[in-house]
């Protein structure tokens, strides 16, 4: 019906920018990933080594460990954010005086730069001047040292992420909830559905697309998390997530070849995961008619 040339024209600035600044570096990284290349090795330059880097990473315990940690981090953080965000959004659909003030305060963490988030939380949790270990020790006799206990470091980064990103989830959920038409809910109540039934059979299906989209965006961002955790714990035990592991390999170790191949695999895994979610979102209409 419409001239697709105009369409391409409208799309072209976006495509050009992303091809240059997104796709071209990707090709470079892909290329380097098939080479052995460490700036400080005895031999200079890139040496093609086929799939060696990829073979190496399959047996790289540190890498696999980092993937496991990242998965745990993402699942716990995003899971809590979704539940909390939904509850908070639900609370925000009610009307009460002062609501917008609470909403604004609740949105604040989203505005703090990740690197500052890491700094704030480091100040909170480092023994010696942080109040958290001090009061946990005083009130509950709990030893809290993120440098000594990897699990605590992992949980601290999860909580930090929840603090930082729940507001985002709340806002999208709130947007989703406000857009749900009133009639089906009313109808269900008239039909005698319990609150849970209303939530499960009416609200949730309506909310599903927003929910999946939010989760999708959070997954993308959680997997690449570097700044906050880097500031918080330097990527030590418990927080050596894939993003940080890549950073360490690429930077202090200057193992560009291996670092690139890990990046490619990580990107590939992220894309597969997101593709599945994407299909789930795109196929929403089919789901609803069932």
């Amino acid at each position: 019906m419409r001239n697709s040339r105009t369409g391409w024209l409208l799309l072209s600035p976006t495509l050009i920018i992303l091809l240059i600044f997104g796709f071209a570096p990707f090709l470079y990284v892909l290329f380097v990933g098939f080479n052995q290349w460490n700036v400080f090795s005895a031999e200079d330059g890139l040496i093609f080594n086929g799939l060696d880097n990829f073979r190496r990473l399959v047996f790289d315990a540190d890498f696999l460990h980092s993937v496991g940690l990242t998965a745990r981090f993402a699942i716990f953080a995003i899971g809590s954010e979704v539940v909390l965000g939904f509850v908070l959004a639900q609370m925000l659909t009610r009307n009460f005086p002062g609501k917008s003030l609470f909403r604004i305060i609740h949105t604040l963490p989203l505005m703090v730069a990740p690197i500052a988030v890491g700094a704030i939380w480091r100040l909170l949790v480092i023994p010696g001047f942080g109040p958290v270990p001090f009061f946990l020790d005083r009130w509950f006799d709990l030893q809290y040292q993120i440098g000594t206990y990897p699990d605590q470091a992992l949980w601290t980064s999860v909580i930090m992420d929840v603090w930082h990103w729940t507001p985002f989830v709340t806002l999208t959920m709130l947007a989703g909830l406000t857009a749900i038409p009133k009639e089906p809910v009313e109808q269900a109540k008239v039909d005698g559905a319990s609150r849970f039934q209303v939530f499960w059979y009416v609200t949730l299906p309506f909310l599903r697309p927003v929910l999946l989209t939010t989760v999708f965006i959070r997954i993308m961002d959680a997997i690449r998390t570097v700044d906050e955790v880097w500031m918080l714990a330097g990527g030590g035990p418990g927080t050596r997530f894939t993003g940080i592991y890549i950073w360490r390999v690429v930077f202090p170790r200057t193992d560009y070849g291996y670092g690139s191949s890990i990046s490619i695999i990580t990107l590939y895994l992220t894309i597969v995961l997101c593709w599945l979610l994407f299909i789930a979102i795109s196929g929403r209409r089919k789901g609803e008619t069932e």
């Binding site: 010696g128 030893q143 202090p252 200057t254």
Partner: protein
């Protein structure tokens, strides 16, 4: 021939400079030498430390006023500084005209031929050679920025050793001394042996607990998320036990005892065991502490004794706005195992790491001449004393005798005297062209030993194996 001519010329200059003490002459020289470059801008990258901030704030302004050459300074964090300098030099971009070279990375840079040979460059450009700048005026620390021919590649700007600091108010308190003697059967004193150090640490930790004070027995630079812990082990604790060069044998290209290395040897295991064994006597932040947190903890009075980088000694001892223990800081040589000091005096080994950094010119620089003037400016004797007072760093032998430093020296319990007299017992980092690469390999194992996931012996034997693998990959292996 040309070299001899240059030398004669230099000598003549030096004579002239000595005879005419009027600064106007120097002024004239700078203006004349810099005339072709006036108006250009040279740019450098450095970590934001007090000495480098002094260069950025004070010396750069003086230099610009004198020569018309602008100096742009990019100060950044430690990790960032490396990645930016290396990217620039590797890609030959020419962003930086001078870079901060931490002493331990110099051999990597030299191996990649990143740096301009300053000695040779000044020799080739006699018009640019400033008479009062003299390479032999530097302390022995400058030797660690030279190649095999003795040519200098960086103008030292920071230099310090990791010393043993203790709190005099605690160690000289009569009640505490009596209590210690009652418990241990000998007199409380700054430690000279490892057993004594451990006793002190144990005693003060118990003392802090019984008095409900925030006091522990020792610092440990044991961050499990940072290379700082590996550094403390390999460059302070290890050498003082007699473990040198990270236990890596450069000839065989191996860290394993079976192949001539020592990283998994008995000395290394004993050192690591001892060091990790101090953790119960260290403040709880020890496992999150890098060098700056260690200094901060000590300055806050949270540890009775510890290994602290000397660049911090001055502010901990004198700066009220940052330290709670001013006037109470004792400075000694770090504890060593039997025979280590003697060996170091003979030139066999060293007792710790002589740390610091220099400014050098990358080959990629597009303004080498102007930068050479700049580096000579900061390397000249007349600016050293004030800079030393501001940044607790000494790079010239003559600076030790400056009244400004002599006065400072009494306030920091003779740190500068120690640096002057015992400095040569310390040594620069091992000459590895793979410094950061191998350190990154060792890191996780040290971290896991700190966490107690591995014993010292397990950790080090796995580390030695991993190091060998990496050395092979890098092409430095057997």
């Amino acid at each position: 021939m040309k070299k001899i001519f240059t030398l004669v010329l230099l000598l003549a200059f030096a004579l002239l400079a000595n005879m005419s003490l009027v600064t106007a002459d120097h002024h004239g020289w700078w203006v004349e030498a810099a005339a072709p470059y006036a108006g250009t801008t040279i740019r450098g990258v450095s970590e934001s430390t007090p000495p480098s901030n002094y260069v950025a704030d004070v010396l750069a302004a003086q230099f610009t006023e004198l020569t018309g050459i602008n100096v742009e300074f990019e100060t950044t964090s430690w990790d960032q500084m490396y990645s930016k300098a290396i990217n620039d030099m590797e890609a030959n971009t020419g962003i930086y005209d001078f870079v901060y070279i931490e002493q331990d990375i110099i051999y990597s840079y030299l191996a990649q031929d990143y740096l301009v040979n300053l000695t040779q460059f000044a020799g080739d450009n006699p018009d640019l050679a400033y008479a009062s700048y003299d390479e032999s005026a530097f302390t022995s620390f400058a030797d660690y920025f030279k190649n095999a021919d003795g040519d200098l590649f960086g103008v030292p700007m920071e230099a310090f050793v990791k010393v043993y600091l203790y709190r005099k108010d605690l160690f000289e308190d009569a009640d505490i001394m009596a209590a210690f003697e009652a418990d241990y059967g000998y007199a409380l004193a700054p430690a000279e042996t490892f057993e004594q150090y451990r006793d002190n640490a144990e005693f003060f930790t118990a003392y802090g607990e019984s008095m409900d004070m925030d006091l522990w027995g020792t610092t440990v630079q044991g961050s499990t998320g940072h290379p700082a812990s590996t550094y403390e082990f390999l460059e302070s604790i290890g050498p003082s036990f007699g473990l040198y060069n990270w236990g890596i044998n450069l000839e065989t290209g191996s860290a394993q005892s079976a192949n001539g290395g020592a990283l998994d040897g008995d000395t290394a295991v004993a050192a690591l065991d001892y060091w990790v064994g101090l953790l119960p006597f260290a403040p709880p932040e020890a496992t999150s502490s890098t060098w700056d947190e260690v200094a901060s903890s000590f300055a806050a009075g949270r540890a009775a004794q510890g290994w602290v980088y000397g660049e911090n000694a001055a502010w901990i001892a004198t700066d009220d706005s940052r330290s709670a223990i001013t006037g109470n800081v004792g400075v000694r040589l770090p504890v060593t195992a039997e025979g280590v000091i003697e060996a170091a005096e003979m030139g066999d080994g060293y007792i710790g790491y002589y740390d610091g950094g220099a400014f050098g010119i990358p080959h990629s620089s597009r303004n080498k001449e102007a930068t050479l003037l700049w580096l000579q400016f900061i390397g000249q004797p007349s600016v050293q004393a004030e800079w030393a007072a501001a940044g607790a760093r000494i790079t010239h032998t003559a600076t030790f005798d400056d009244p400004l430093i002599a006065e400072q020296d009494t306030k920091v319990d003779g740190y500068y005297t120690l640096l002057e007299e015992q400095g040569p017992l310390f040594a620069g980092a091992p000459p590895f062209p793979f410094h950061a690469q191998v350190r990154e390999i060792i890191d996780p194992f040290i971290h896991r030993v700190i966490l107690g996931e591995l014993t010292a012996a397990e950790g080090l034997s796995q580390a030695a194996m991993a190091v060998d693998e990496e050395l092979d990959r890098l092409g430095y292996g057997m």
